[in-house]
Amino acid sequence: MDWQPLVLTFKLAVVTTAILFVVSIPIARWLSSTKSKIRPVLETLVSMPLVLPPTVLGFYMLVVFSPENAFGNWLNEWLGIKLIFSFGGLVVASVIYSLPFMVQPIQAGLSSLPSTLKEASYTMGKSKMTTLLKVLLPNIKPSLLTGIVLSFAHTVGEFGVVLMIGGNMPGKTKVASIAIYDEVEALNYVAANSYSLILFTITFFILLLVYLTNGGYFKRYSQ
């Protein structure tokens, strides 16, 4: 069996999750506290990937990032970044596609904290950054874990966006979900089954781990 698609899948999931974690915290922090009028608009945009067919997202990214167009051309000429049919493009697409899975749990976690926690910290002279890092985030660890695992699992399960923007290039953009499709097309059911079984098992245990941790099972039995 060719392990490359699986390695690529997990590499993509790790990179995507890491970027999402950093990007989503400020977004979630802002959404959880703002009274701005554009908040519903931003919330909608963040949640769009939940309901939109991945192909729609993939299609527009294909158009925007294509070197035929101004933005894609600018990226290519000035920064030497080519996002179509490349690993970089997959990462950008995955970050956008999995954004709600990271932002929403963190936002919900932050909103659930009493506002007096951050106010108490402010009255002690602590900056917003210190308050976020030392008080707010440590108290929403379950939400952070949920966000990380859901984004990771969702990226592993990605198909439509990857197919649209990444294509099917071995070692570059051929992730496991594409490989399965490929093998089925070629009537190679044994290989398709190996990939599928591995993905099934891994995602099952990842999610199980989250529910056990957030449900407090480990704490309960270690005491």
């Binding site: 007096t116 106010e119 910290s121 402010y122 009255t123 002690m124 002279g125 008080v135 440590p138």
Partner: protein
């Protein structure tokens, strides 16, 4: 001295109220804001500490202007450094008692104050415990001394004892008085408990619909100087009962219910739930050990 001149439209559960407040608090005083829920007491405290922005007005503390809507001055809560004890304590659940206090330390501040405060509040044995494992009274003590770590000049107490039982309240009232004197604080308390107010504060301001409707020294405010009583207690009317020509009024004082005889005109002045003062001056009370 603290001068507040605040205007703010507040949206509360009972509808909109226009807060319009002028207050002057002398340095070193223990002041109580008194009044019904939704009168604007907590909002006033939040505006003083910078957590809520007034629509217009000024806040001046000593010679420093903290807020002036005309000059566009608005110090952040971080710069005001007010010791604020929240009603829900706002202890950081991820930190132990000691870490909660240490978090409040300012840059390059001497750490010895932590030990001093822990000892003062008798929290030494609990210093490694997480807030969730503490009782209400213990949490309250942590919140109080945590607010003192940064050595504020102003201490704000937003109904700090309302969730505690009577015994614990009395003990914590002692702490509050000691803290106020020991650290030369100007303390502002929100409270509904008249006994507590009389015991702790120098001056009382009564708020209603966002304005001060009555103010004075605590003794004047509650009319305590009118009776030169030999003993007196404050309590709450529980029951007014007619017995032949007389009325018997049951009053809850602390955990005890006492009965006071009154005539019809007197009884008509009271209704159930009234806060009253029970005093006697003609008889010498009996005192014995229990």
């Amino acid at each position: 001295m603290i001068s507040l001149n605040l205007k703010k439209t507040l949206k509360s559960a009972g509808g909109k109220i226009d807060l319009n407040l002028q207050l002057t608090i002398e340095k070193g005083q223990f002041v109580t804001l008194f009044g019904e829920s939704g009168a604007g007491k907590t909002s006033t405290l939040r505006m003083l500490s910078g957590l809520l922005r007034p629509d217009s007005g000024t806040i001046k503390v000593g010679e420093t202007i903290w807020f002036d809507s005309h000059k566009n001055i608005d110090l952040k809560p971080q710069q005001r450094k007010v010791g604020y004890v929240f009603q829900d304590y706002a202890l950081f659940p991820n930190m132990s008692v000691r870490q909660n206090l240490e978090y409040a330390l300012q840059k390059n501040q001497d750490r010895t104050i932590i030990g001093e405060l822990l000892e003062f509040a008798e929290l030494g044995e609990l210093e490694q415990r997480k807030p969730e494992t503490l009782s209400g009274g213990q949490k309250q003590r942590v919140a109080l001394v945590r607010a003192l770590v940064q050595r504020p000049e102003i201490l704000i107490l937003d109904e700090p004892l309302s969730a505690l039982d009577l015994k614990m309240r009395i003990k914590l009232q002692e702490y509050l008085l000691q803290v106020h004197k020991k650290y030369n604080l100007t303390t502002i308390l929100v409270s509904h408990d008249i006994g507590e107010i009389v015991k702790l504060s120098d001056r009382v301001y009564e708020l209603q619909n966002g304005s001060v409707i009555k103010k004075g020294t605590t003794t004047d405010f509650f009319g305590l100087n009118k009776t030169s009583a030999k003993f007196r207690f404050s309590g709450e009317v529980l029951k007014i009962q007619r017995e032949d020509v007389l009325y018997v009024i049951s009053v809850l004082i602390g955990n005890d219910i006492i009965k006071v005889v009154a005539d019809r005109t007197e009884a008509n002045n009271f209704k159930i739930g009234d806060q009253v003062l029970v005093a006697s001056k003609a008889f010498n009370p009996i005192i014995q050990k229990i």
